[in-house]
Amino acid sequence: MTAGSASMAAVAGNRADLSAARPLFFREQAQVLSNATLAAGLHELRLESPRIASAAAPGQFVNVLVAEGWDPLLRRPMSIAGTGPGVITLIYKIIGRGTAAMSTWQPGDRADLLGPLGRGWEVPADGFPVLLGGGVGIAPILYLRQHLAAAGRTHHLIMGARTIGEHFLGHEPEAGITLTSDDGSVGIGGTILDGLAHFRESLNPSGGPLSLFGCGPPAMLAGLQRLATREDVPCQLALEQTMACGFGFCQGCSVAMRPRPEPAAHSYRSRYKLACIDGPVFRAGELL
């Protein structure tokens, strides 16, 4: 068993590189407020986690302890899907034992979290933000949307799923929400990329500059990356790399980078970056 800690232990984070400030993260015993089905296969977990809630930024994640015993051994990284006063929201899909354990949590239970972790989205001043979330990849996208909405910045959200039952918002393109479904049961039939193409043709026919933010399955991210590179559109992608620690200690979450001409300050982190402290958000152009 991990040695018990006080309910909130401040832990200053590892620095991403020597020049960057050292981010703070916390170990917090968060109280479960609700844990409910959001849509087919998607669960929403609301947690009272004041330290993490007040320090978090869109695109960051928490690392969730899912077992008292030693099997499974590792925490499970989960993007923060939104915050409220003292509260964070996670959206998760059951894919194995850890997420299955999470789905049994009841209001009042305690969840042992480390966070907020990682480097989140950068929101450039120019370009119209188009937010693209596929499947459970919607979580960091929704948090970014909350942030943009609070800042009064107009944007467009494109959400993809296989079928209507997996959606929890309505298809309202004029209100800034486009849904796509593989089976055509709601919104645009096809993938997120079809949704993006449709958006560009019908809602952004003038071709004004866009700024893309994507999270979702590998095929979607690869498609976005190709498009962004081909058309030179600014694009950030949030990756889900397997992690052992989440705070830069294990070097396990390496992400291959496109070779760069100039010599890097840390040559050992030029070819591979670490998803947990250099990411999970990367610019599409720097990824291999």
């Binding site: 620690c245 200690f249 050992y268």
Partner: protein, 305 residues
């Protein structure tokens, strides 16, 4: 009962507590989270340092197994030059003893890394030699699985430093006692055991190995019984102090290793659950010893007793 956790590892090194963080699981020491009270730690062992910066292996590098973790990081590190230039100065002030882990793919590389660090006359506690590296000159055979190589590598490094020199043993051998005696014969001040156990996993859905390198190193609670057996054997084979590690996750585990013959321990994979876990374990150890009415870890009866 007042418990003193002060621990000497031979005549060259005294630790505030018999608990260190293990190489490769706690960064370089100066980059530890600020709220980890480094002063409470016995020592921090750095990530293994090589002559040149290493990118490490391509992903995937880690994979979870029952109560265990497989890794094939590939010694990703900043290299000795940057280490000396940018880390070493800060390490004098972190409040904890720092032990620098050294790795290489030839004897010359180990020697060069150690000499470069020694040339800075650094304020460190000493060195841990990671012998679980393939010896390129000898066709890729690990230093740590061969008695003669272990002894001559140890002697070579011994001649280069008067500081505390600890050799970290690999468990992937027929007789770890033999290797331990070779390192002792080569002049090591202490031995640490164990490094990771060779392992492998496959994703049954895709049929792909779960690590890019196919084979990797297993750590975590799954290997604790293996590590404990190794420490027990090593402690019987040599006269110098033994530092135990492998799956240690709480104060009970620390007690197990001390009873098996270790003079101190290291915490590895458990840091990934909480970077402050070693500090918490030290506090819990103090409480446990007090509860048992013991004044010091050395009062714990050994298993032979």
């Amino acid at each position: 009962m007042d418990v003193s956790l002060r621990t000497s590892l031979g005549s060259k090194l005294v630790l505030a507590a018999p608990v260190m963080t293990a190489s490769g699981t706690f960064g370089y020491g100066d980059d530890a989270p600020a709220a980890v009270d480094l002063g409470a730690l016995g020592a921090v062992v750095t990530k293994s340092i090589t002559r040149h910066p290493r990118e490490g292996h391509p992903p995937p590098r880690i994979s979870e197994t029952p109560s265990g973790l497989l890794n094939a990081i590939g010694l990703a590190n900043i290299g000795v030059d940057e280490f000396c230039r940018e880390r070493l100065p800060a390490l004098a002030h972190i409040g904890s003893v720092v032990i620098v882990s050294i790795a290489g793919s030839s004897m010359d590389e180990y020697a060069e890394v150690l000499s470069i660090i020694e040339a800075h006359d650094p304020d460190i506690g000493g060195y841990e030699i990671n012998v679980s590296c393939p010896n390129v000159a000898e066709g890729g055979m690990e230093f740590g699985v061969d008695c003669a190589m272990t002894e001559s590598l140890t002697r070579r490094l011994r001649d280069l430093t008067g500081r505390f020199l600890m050799v970290k043993l690999s468990p992937n051998v027929t007789d770890i006692g033999d290797i331990a005696r070779s390192a002792e014969g080569g002049g090591a001040d202490a031995l640490s055991a164990i490094n990771t156990v060779v392992g492998m996993d496959i994703d049954p859905a895709s049929g792909r190995p779960s690590l890019h390198t196919v084979l990797g190193g297993l750590s975590g609670p799954a290997i604790r019984p293996i590590a404990l057996a190794c420490v027990y054997k090593v402690a019987r084979a040599v006269q110098i102090p033994v530092v135990g590690l492998g799956g240690i996750s709480d104060a009970d585990d620390v007690i197990r290793f001390l009873q098996a013959g270790a003079a101190a321990v290291q915490i590895g994979t458990a840091n990934y659950r909480d970077p402050a876990i070693a500090v918490q374990i030290i506090a819990a150890l103090r409480e446990r010893l007090a509860g048992m009415g013991l004044a010091a870890p050395s009062d714990l009866p050994g298993v032979a007793a």
